[in-house]
Symmetry: C2
Subunit: 764 residues, 2 copies
């Protein structure tokens, strides 16, 4: 192992150290007045109550899956490490959510207080708090990866174990006679399955968080704003705390878990693809298999260090306008990107990556920027699409909806074309025309490249809900108007970064899923083991040996499964992933359907959860005397409780569907069906997600554009139509759209973990 | 040629004869009072004015494409028949549209008059008029196919021409030394490209008709009903005639052209797949290649004869309820299906089709019924989904929209699963596990089977708009209320058949596209011609010969194109349609995007065209004195003109995009890219179309459910929300959704026609 690999654990620890420093310096700031502290305390309690309940559900799911995975490991259709690794992936992702949200809820009042001093101070507090989330995510993700890589390569796959095998508790961890090449393949494909823990955690965080935040939002708006006519964030509204909690739950914890998964998934998938590179592809490049496997981790490590530097670049002056604020953030992210590229030039010169891979990383970084900018174009009220929706709002809600849907559907073209050019560009840049495997490895690196700036990108994302909450805190604490003006400026900035952040999240999800699907085939190839020509039988991973004639194997004390000559034919059929294999085509259809079905389920879930919230807010207005006069305190906790319960109840069915369908397809339609399912889910899911995110974002900003005084301003017919658009857009952009990121990745991850079972079933 | 083939021309002529008989007997009925005649005349003139203008535009497009195809034929990248065949396909489709619409516009007043005598009389007139459309479509489509097949097999590919070649006007029609096997492949792949004419015609009919009908509808509703407060179909509304014209233009002509294309496409694609069956697959089945090629035409011919019998089965009693009416239609369609199956049993016993193919047809027929029933479940107000939307309407327009979208997305699962099971079932039933080509041939037969009842199915579809128009006529002519009650009963029946008809149209479009995509590969294989190993060069179809070294060919006076060894490698790359070819994957993404982009464009188009209509209706109300008191006649023709112009103007861009994108993808991304594009367009487009159709249908019926007196009935807040849902749903279900059928098929058809160019470009 080269010394440069040490950068991986070092950078991940560095990220955690800086996260700690930023957190400490955050805590030194005052939370302001007693009222501010009180509000912040309510939100904090609500957020923690939610997290506690969510983790309880998640733990049950984890325990069930852990048992299932263990049973599979016992029967040899699963690697024995996977159950434990599954837990660590989930644990660290959950820990990030806890720490990020804790920080965010500590930061809102402090940001409001900072804004009461100066705009720059407010920006610094909010942004550095967001950076805690960003650094915690990349830090723990890379630390987990580094730890497992070191454990597996140094402790488990020792030369001695590789020669003699390693058994423990009746399970075979290392097969006798494992070669050096096999070792890397075994290690990386095993590590790949760790991502399953992060995926499961992300599923619940994104879907649950998405349902929570919208249920609270709709409840607060529909009864508070529309029926009772009190302003946003008014303390008389019982759902207002739940609404503020929702921002943290959905946009901090949900987004963080989503990107944690993409980050870990892209690195692990690329490492697995690196291990699968044939010698002929590496010949003459100066890259050895170990370099190919560790390079994505090293690129990620470099990205962490330079993201930290980028975070320090973000500062602004008091007289800052929206543009200069945006510029401050842009300098930070763009600065990190440039520094990363410079560092990669060095890495290429040192012979750790090929120049082709370098360009693949450049393409990934560029694709992230382009998708982000396109998202801004389609959803910002400074451009034609959103202005057009506001214009249509004059003719009533129906035309507002139609135009918003058209804008959203139309907006899919730039992201799709970017991803297509990105995939093809990365493939060819890395040398896919000469060696197919190199091209696929390049696609993986495009994903790693896009996510290399995650430390700072996530900081700008998490900044949004913190600023939003600071505004809420300022409003509820009745701070002077100039404070609210400053927090509003930060909040608007947050809306823009949230939109570009959503584009970034779905773009990286697509590339990560792409890398994972490629890695899935490696996993399948591994599980097939050595196929003996003519149906003589083959040795699968783990304890099972597949033979045409099981008797000799049984005599030797090996668990053996009979396979037929027909099964061996199925092996090539399983690899027939052409369109004309009806299993593949059927899978494609099902994947496309899954995207729509999952969206329908999450949207319905919001509707039901919001309905319960509406009833509760109405009840409080009715039953608690003096609440509207501000004489009685509403029961905030009741609303938090309802949103929490609703989210937990409603997230289960869609989540289970996302986990179970790939298993069923794998068992019934084999590898070709699974690949079709994943490809259909990826392509249709990506397009659908972009449509929903951007339609939702555009409706939101069209409404705000009208509220600025256009087309009659607040209270006009156009405004009413705009509110309808915004309400429809809420579950689009904050629940269903982002949840599709998870669906795309999770279905792939489940398939990877279930590859052993799928392959075994297809051979029996 | 066997005598049984004679059934094909005979059945097609029989269909036309019965269409003529039905038309004549229709014309014998009275159009009723002078007022009724006047109204009918307005609608007829409007419809013909529209058709005239549309055909003018279409003729220009056809001339341009004809010239392009001729140039391609001259340069040897296109078969010389294609330009002429393209024209005949377009001509017959256009003729069907003209005749069908002419009949429908003659039928509305006669149906109203018939309904003034008895319900059964009204049903008979409307249904038999619809049958004219159904029989004209299947008759001309099959006649065109039979004529070309006889021309090519009897006149062009004679033994003498096959031995010596056939040249004419400097173009090579038959290559020297063509074998019997090659003959059938050449004939069927050439015929396949005839469908391009039908596709182009269908594109303009569906997209233009869809825009027309919704622009008129929205204009009539928004200003007339909402602003001026006058009822539906009121003669004081200037847009009311345009609205009635729209029903004919969109639902008769548009639907007819759509299904004409599916019908011809499925038969031609299956014939091409039959010609490509390898001898080993046919061995022992008793089927020879000629039987394999003509069997789909014979099945279609049988379907025609038995559809005619089915049409005679449709009759009802005066005391008929909605249920008995529906039962009358069901007996007709179901009766035909059963008779077709019985006839196919005979065909299988006679050894014209295998039993596997028989089961594939059964699967196709069953899939059509299931998708139709699922559509009814999700869009009829007798079931939970639509009732749920009406319930949500109480909370305002936003929840109505969200719930409708969720219902639409949710409704995709049954049709998708049905299509998946249908594709896989037909594949395996036909013997795909043993011989891949047989399985694909079976999928083609599933499409042919689904469409075999088209004669009667289309009659029930066209019935809807005729009944709708009859109602309009009765209203405007102020007939007694019991007449309106009877036409309302027929209209409601029409709404149900329209919904199931939409499901049938998209289901058959999916299967047809599937068969076409498979046939596309045959087209590509043919164009590649005989690849010489090691880059020696190969002979492509037409005059060009591709050689590594062009000199010897040039000496022999043959136009020759140099190809490189790298190009020969591309040949296999072009066939690499696995997910891991980034070209294929990129194509998949682009196909999914095309579905969304096309929907956005058609939706925007409706918005703009409707805007112009709204302005015009407002102008007439303002400027024509006494219009609202019924003292002055509105300028109906002006509104018809505006809808017509708007539709023509707006249909061009989306239409051209649908035609050009496959060409660009073919030129830049080769065969793999094209296949990806088609697969992505098919799977995402199908899901999106089902979503849009069903969401639109459910909103429509939810509104009607409220109007029946539920949740406050007409004028309530729930009703207002229901109207918003219905308005959003209109372009969903009548423009964008149905237009996707065309997109799916047209992109495939364009690719088939351009296969020669794509292959040539990929080899240069």
């Amino acid at each position: 192992m080269s010394n440069i690999f040490l950068l991986v654990p070092v950078a991940s620890i560095l990220a955690l150290v800086f996260a700690w420093i930023f957190f400490k310096s955050l805590m030194k700031n005052s939370e302001g007045t007693d009222r501010m502290k009180e509000i912040a305390q309510y939100v904090r309690e609500g957020a923690m109550a939610y997290l506690k309940r969510q983790y309880k559900v998640v733990i049950i799911v984890f325990v069930v899956l852990f048992i299932l995975l263990t049973i599979m490991a016992y029967f040899g259709v699963q690697n024995p490490f996977v159950p434990i690794a599954f837990l660590t992936g989930g644990f660290f992702s959950g820990l990030c959510g806890f720490l990020g949200m804790k920080t965010a809820t500590f930061a809102s009042a402090r940001t409001a207080h900072g804004a009461s001093q100066s705009l720059n101070k407010g920006l610094q507090v909010a942004f550095r708090s967001g950076a805690v989330m960003g650094l915690v995510v990349v830090g723990f993700a890379l630390l987990d990866i580094a730890a497992w890589y070191l454990l597996l390569s140094k402790v488990i796959f020792t030369p001695e174990h590789m020669a003699n095998g390693l058994h423990f508790l009746g399970l075979q961890f290392v097969h006798e006679g494992t070669t050096e090449t096999q070792k890397l393949v075994e290690i990386t494909t095993t590590m790949l399955t760790f991502g399953m823990g992060a995926s499961t955690q992300a599923l619940f965080a994104r879907v649950g968080g998405g349902i929570y935040t919208k249920a609270a939002d709709v409840g607060a708006d529909l009864v508070g704003k529309v029926e009772a006519g009190i302003p946003e964030d008014d303390p008389r509204n019982p759902a207002t705390i739940a609404d503020n909690v929702g921002d943290n739950v959905g946009d901090v914890a949900g987004m963080g878990a989503d990107l944690y998964e993409s980050y870990a998934g892209s690195i692990l998938a690329t490492a697995a693809l690196g291990a699968a590179l044939p010698a002929v592809a590496l010949a003459g490049t100066g890259i050895d298999p170990i370099k190919a496997v560790t390079a994505p981790m090293i690129v990620a490590a470099i990205g962490i260090v330079l993201s930290i530097i980028g975070i320090f670049m973000v500062r602004t002056k008091e007289s800052a306008t929206q543009k200069t604020l945006l510029r401050a953030l842009f300098i930070g992210t763009f600065g990190s990107s440039v520094l990363i590229l410079l560092a990669l030039v060095g890495l290429a010169f040192m012979g750790w990556i090929t120049w082709g891979v370098f360009w693949a990383v450049v393409i990934g970084l560029a694709a992230g920027v382009i998708i982000g900018q396109a998202t801004e174009y389609y959803t910002s009220d400074e451009y034609k699409p959103t202005k057009g929706i506001a214009h249509q709002a004059q003719q009533g809600p129906a035309t507002t909806i139609i135009d918003g849907i058209a804008v959203g559907m139309n907006s899919t073209w730039i992201p799709v074309v970017t991803i297509v050019l990105g995939i093809m560009g990365a493939f060819w840049a890395a040398g896919g025309a000469q060696h197919f495997a190199m091209g696929v490895y390049g696609i993986g690196f495009a994903a790693v490249g896009m996510l290399s700036t995650l430390g700072i990108t996530l900081a700008t994302d998490a900044f949004g809900p913190i600023a939003d909450n600071a505004g809420g805190n300022a409003e509820m604490s009745e701070l002077p108007p100039e404070v609210r003006e400053r927090t509003d400026a930060l909040d608007m900035l947050g809306n823009t970064t949230a939109a570009t952040g959503k584009g970034f999240a779905i773009g990286s999800a697509a590339l990560t899923a792409m890398a994972l699907i490629s890695a899935y085939m490696e996993e399948v190839r591994l599980w097939f083991g050595k196929i003996a020509k003519g149906g003589e039988g083959f040795v699968a991973k783990g304890q099972y040996v597949f033979y045409n004639d099981v008797a000799p194997a049984v005599e030797e004390g090996i668990k053996a499964v009979k396979i037929s000559a027909a099964s061996v034919k199925d092996f090539s059929a399983a690899y027939d992933i052409t369109l004309f294999n009806p299993l593949f085509l059927g899978g494609l259809f099902l994947g496309s359907m899954m995207a729509f079905l999952f969206s329908a389920m999450t949207m319905k879930a919001v509707g039901r959860a919001a309905g319960a919230m509406v009833d509760e807010v109405r009840r409080q207005f009715r039953e608690i005397k003096g609440i509207l006069e501000g004489k009685a305190t509403p029961e905030y906790a009741k609303c938090v409780e309802i949103s929490t319960k609703g989210a937990q109840r409603e997230m289960l069915v869609p989540s289970l569907v996302a986990i179970i369908v790939p298993v069923i397809v794998g068992a019934s339609m084999g590898v070709a069906g699974v690949i079709g399912l994943l490809a259909g889910g990826l392509t249709a899911g990506f397009t659908l997600a972009v449509f929903m995110n951007n339609a939702g974002g555009a409706w939101d900003n069209a409404k705000k554009f009208i509220e600025k005084g256009n087309y009659g301003g607040k209270g006009s017919e156009a405004h009413k139509a705009g509110v309808v658009g915004d309400t429809v857009g809420d579950p689009f952009k904050d629940t269903s759209g982002p949840s599709l990121n998870i669906l795309i990745k999770l279905m792939t991850m489940v398939s990877v973990v279930m590859a052993g079972l799928t392959v075994t079933l297809s051979l029996l």
